[in-house]
C-alpha cells in the first residue's frame, strides 16, 4: 500500500487514534476489575447493601 508523500501524517493520525482508544479500553477494563475487587473485599468483611439484605431476607 503506497500512502504517498504524506504517509507520516496518515500513520500519525492512525497511531494517535489507536493510542487513545486503547487507553479508553484499558481504563474501562481496569476500573471494572478495581471496583469488583473492592466490592469483594467489603462483602468478605460482612458488609452488604441494605437493598441486598432486604431482597435476601
Amino acid at each position: 500500500m503506497n500512502l504517498g508523500p504524506h504517509s507520516d501524517f496518515i500513520v500519525a493520525a492512525y497511531a494517535v487514534t489507536v493510542f487513545v482508544v486503547a487507553g479508553l479500553i484499558a481504563w474501562v477494563v481496569l476500573d471494572y476489575a478495581a471496583q469488583r475487587r473492592v466490592l469483594g473485599d467489603l462483602e468478605e468483611r460482612g458488609i452488604t447493601r441494605r437493598s441486598r439484605r432486604s431482597s435476601e431476607g
Binding site: M1, N2, L3, G4, P5, H6, S7, F9, I10, A12, A13, Y14, V16, T17, V20, V21, G23, L24, I25, W27, V28, V29, D31, Y32, Q35, R36, V38, L39, L42, R45, I47, T48, R49, R50, S51
Partner: protein
C-alpha cells in the same frame, strides 16, 4: 423486561452483562470490515492518500458531539426527573466524548497540514470544536473535584445543558461563517458530494466507532454503578465502626 425496569440499577447491570459480549464482538467485526474497506479505498483526486484520515476524523467528530447530546439528555434526567441512572450515564459519557473530540482535533490537525498547509487556524469550525473539548474538561473537573457527588452531578448537568448551545454552532459554523474547513459534504441538501467508493467505508467506520462508543459507555456506566455501591458500603462500614466505638 419493560423499559421502566431499567431504572433499577441491578436490572440494568444484568442487562449490560448480557449485552456487552455481543457488543464487543459486533464492534470488532465492524472495525475489521471498516479498516479493510478503508485500506482498499481509492485515493482522492486532490488530497491523495491523506483522505484516509477522514475515516478517523469524521466519525470521531460525530461522536464528540454525540457524547455531548448523551450528556444533555442525561442532564435533563438528572435535573428534571431525577432518574437514578441519568447522572451515571452523563458521568460515563464525559471522558468518552472528550477522548473522541481530542481524536477529532488531532487527526484534523494532521490532515490540515498537508491539505491546507497549516496544522491550525482559528476558524469557526476548529475553534468551536476546541471549545467543545474545553467544555468536556470542565464537566470532568466538576465530577472529579466536587466533595459532594450530588452537588457535582447537578453542576455538571447544568454545564451540560448550557454547553449544548455549542452543538448547532459546530454544525452550522461552516455555513454561517467563512471558514477554511470545508462545508458539509456528507449530510446535505442534494446528497453527498463524496464518491461511494469512499463514502461506504466511511459509514462502516462510523458504525464501528459508534458501536465502540456504546460499548464503552455501557461498560463505564457499569463501573460507575459499582463505584457508587462501594461508596455506600464504605459509608455503612464507617457508620458501623462509629456506632461500635460509641
Amino acid at each position: 423486561m419493560a423499559v421502566i425496569d431499567l431504572a433499577n440499577p441491578t436490572r440494568f447491570l444484568a442487562l449490560v452483562n448480557r449485552l456487552l459480549p455481543w457488543l464487543v464482538g459486533a464492534t470488532a467485526v465492524l472495525f475489521v470490515l471498516g479498516l479493510y474497506r478503508a485500506i482498499g479505498a481509492p485515493d482522492d483526486y486532490q488530497q491523495g492518500a491523506t483522505v484516509k484520515i477522514m475515516f478517523l476524523h469524521v466519525p470521531s467528530a460525530w461522536l464528540g458531539m454525540f457524547g455531548w447530546i448523551v450528556m444533555s439528555v442525561a442532564a435533563l434526567g438528572t435535573l428534571v426527573w431525577r432518574h437514578p441512572l441519568a447522572d451515571v450515564a452523563g458521568k460515563a459519557a464525559a471522558p468518552l466524548g472528550a477522548a473522541f473530540t481530542f481524536i477529532c482535533l488531532i487527526t484534523g490537525s494532521l490532515w490540515g497540514r498537508p491539505t491546507w498547509g497549516t496544522y491550525w487556524v482559528w476558524d469557526a469550525r476548529l475553534t468551536s470544536m476546541l471549545v467543545l473539548l474545553l467544555l468536556y474538561l470542565g464537566v470532568l473537573a466538576l465530577y472529579w473535584t466536587a466533595e459532594d457527588p450530588g452537588r457535582g452531578a447537578r453542576a455538571a448537568a447544568i454545564l451540560s445543558l448550557v454547553g449544548a448551545v455549542n452543538l448547532p454552532i459546530i454544525k452550522f459554523s461552516v455555513d454561517w461563517w467563512n471558514t477554511l474547513h470545508q462545508p458539509a459534504s456528507i449530510f446535505r441538501m442534494g446528497g453527498s458530494t463524496i464518491d461511494p467508493s469512499i463514502l461506504t467505508p466511511l459509514f462502516i467506520m462510523a458504525g464501528a466507532f459508534t458501536l465502540l462508543f456504546v460499548t464503552l459507555h455501557l461498560a463505564a456506566m457499569r463501573n460507575e454503578i459499582l463505584r457508587r455501591r462501594v461508596r455506600t458500603m464504605q459509608l455503612m462500614q464507617a457508620q458501623a465502626l462509629a456506632e461500635a466505638g460509641a
